[in-house]
Symmetry: none
Subunit: 234 residues, 4 copies
Amino acid sequence: MPTRTFFDLDPARRDRLVREAIAEFSERTYAEASLSQIAKRTQIAKGSFYQYFADKLDLYRWLVTEEAPRHKREFIGAEPPTGDFWLDFENMIERGMAFLVEHPRLARLTAAAADPTATADVRGLHRAICEAGIDELRAQLERGIETGALDKPGLDIEVATRLVAAIIGPGLTDVVLHELGAELHEVLRSDSLRKKLGPARRRRLAHQAVLLIQNGLGLGERQSSTRKTRHAHV
Amino acid sequence: MPTRTFFDLDPARRDRLVREAIAEFSERTYAEASLSQIAKRTQIAKGSFYQYFADKLDLYRWLVTEEAPRHKREFIGAEPPTGDFWLDFENMIERGMAFLVEHPRLARLTAAAADPTATADVRGLHRAICEAGIDELRAQLERGIETGALDKPGLDIEVATRLVAAIIGPGLTDVVLHELGAELHEVLRSDSLRKKLGPARRRRLAHQAVLLIQNGLGLGERQSSTRKTRHAHV
Amino acid sequence: MPTRTFFDLDPARRDRLVREAIAEFSERTYAEASLSQIAKRTQIAKGSFYQYFADKLDLYRWLVTEEAPRHKREFIGAEPPTGDFWLDFENMIERGMAFLVEHPRLARLTAAAADPTATADVRGLHRAICEAGIDELRAQLERGIETGALDKPGLDIEVATRLVAAIIGPGLTDVVLHELGAELHEVLRSDSLRKKLGPARRRRLAHQAVLLIQNGLGLGERQSSTRKTRHAHV
Amino acid sequence: MPTRTFFDLDPARRDRLVREAIAEFSERTYAEASLSQIAKRTQIAKGSFYQYFADKLDLYRWLVTEEAPRHKREFIGAEPPTGDFWLDFENMIERGMAFLVEHPRLARLTAAAADPTATADVRGLHRAICEAGIDELRAQLERGIETGALDKPGLDIEVATRLVAAIIGPGLTDVVLHELGAELHEVLRSDSLRKKLGPARRRRLAHQAVLLIQNGLGLGERQSSTRKTRHAHV
DNA sequence: TATGAATGAGTTTTCATTCAT
DNA sequence: AATGAATGAAAACTCATTCAT
């Protein structure tokens, strides 16, 4: 946790620090990110960091568990649910992409923190971040089942949740990068590049994702029974 | 690329090097992985690396783009296609999980390299690795469309491919970790832990993934039209 | 020297500062002792130190040359001399050990400052502290000679004083630690540990020290002459 | 322990390193001594130290437990015992002072390491160093008792050993500094200053120390009984 | 007078890479 | 071809001291 000092900081200074810290941690691995670099970029003395945060991990943890989620909540929060499960779902996905466009570094930060290739220091964080996301999504799917909007008896809810999470997480990120025809780092740096992913385009992609999640790619149950038969003698 | 010298190396020595390099790079970030550590563990002089590889990146690149894919091909290759698209698809997924059980470090290596949070050094690699996987999967889906096994006219094939890739990539990895109730690093280290993911269990998970990809979670097209209507006035 | 401001301080505040400063300097080397730590422990702003003392050294110097000796004088002072030189001597030693039991940190502070391994900063102090102790002891011994209680014509008074000082300084400290079977830091921290060195035990140890100082370990002059003879042809 | 690399080092380079390390550690506390300084003074890259020693403590430990004792043994070793306990004792003391004159930094190093004001890191070392010295001296005194050269039934051997250790350790060091009329650091630095403490002077001082240890300062047993009487009503 | 934020020099340690043997 | 010692840049972190409020 940051110290009082940090919160009492001159806003300009604090924002500069937060901005550059996010920049650093969103472009590099936790291990690679360097306080010295941030210090250089912020023109804030290295020693000063330690007035604000206990250590490198403390800063990172705060960014990932407090600052990024707060911004995301604020950003997403506006949209009220329509009551239509799938429409809400699509909206959620669209909002996620909008967040990615508006706050790409925060989005990246969270995504990276959720990657299991975590340094020993941050391994605990990864788990927490990851499971928080899963819990939220699971709850949402369960609501869908209750309301009858979603009904797939053969599917393990735990498995489904995690696969859907992969779709709307790494999956959509990849789709977005492909749409923009650029690498992550270019996208992080270029506002104009991101502006190309306007609402219409986002809506289209969200719709595609929902299409897949809702109805899949296949020809319906028929195929499934055939498969099971053939599967017997594999 | 490795030098001639590397390939002419005494196989025992070369294997030792490759094994330990994979161990190091699969447990740590590229930036964190240390040639010094590999040298210590292989008993191969640090200077010798530079007879085999141009530098750290060269070694990593070779592992990720050549060595890991080669092993994966060898491992997967055995299984001949049944002709049933969805059964083949399920088998592919099951084989992927089997690879993860048998060669967890290689699997991890590739997955990590495909993550977009890449250091400047490895940024180029990420794109290549990632697109190679996508290309392969896209081809497979296109074959499914041709044979009529797969038919979803509204779906953008590029988007679908990337979302499906996320399902069978990060998605299934997460599912597997959750099934084993362990963190990535424990799984990498414990043979016995991985053995718990036997064929039956893998089959069940693969089946779940196919269920989702093939038929989705929803109640069919009906819902979709409703959605479109309501969507109009959002 | 402390400033006026320091002496005009609210006694509670001043005592807290002095107490924690003593704690810090008695457990660490001068160089290791940290004003930041003291500030944290006293809840006194770091900047305030510089209203009371010129710098770190100034604080340390005052503790070592003024505060500690004052406490020691007050502590020892009570006991009036009996007139019997050796008995007074033994009493002095016993009082020294009692001070060590009651005010271990002050005792340690002085002892450490008297050690010649001093940092450049404190080099000057060492000499002063050390010689003050020596002067006092020399005077005492001289009084013994005058009164005839002490009579060893061959002995250089300067040498004797310094050797005796070593006995009752580092020597007895070592003996005490050995008696308590503990390390210095444990002794500093544990009241109960120190209580084990009650008056009887202290008396016994003081007696032992006096035995050695008064009569030595040997068999008397006889031996000495023999030695001199043999010594001639070494 | 130093690495093989260290021992295989070019002797000139190694000696330079050892010499400057001893210089640094003999003039400063362990905590204050700085590898950066040593590096600067030796013109050896900082990184190189870590090819020779695991860390700062490793270097210090080796100096204090191996290098210094080895030199001391070599230096002292020559003198064969005469068989006369007290003469041997005096010789030992004289040799100790000679070592102090010839290898003042090594002597200082060991003495400092034996001081109980030790940093947490080196606390273990202190104990070992200290007790090793005590054990040796105790054995010597016990031999004296066996041969009848030394006979003081009332004295606790453990206490006596530690007090005598203080005499010939810190005590004589202080005497020497006083004789030279200089501070420790001047003595460490000035060869000419130390040369003033020639054999004759050392002999005189050693003799004084033995006088005190052998026969004490007092007037014999008579006094002792009186003391006990008087002590009763204190 | 009291405060405590800011500072930057300093510390130990690691690492990829070079190069003489 | 193989070695492994040498290097120096870079990292995280601490601390006495200053100074504006």
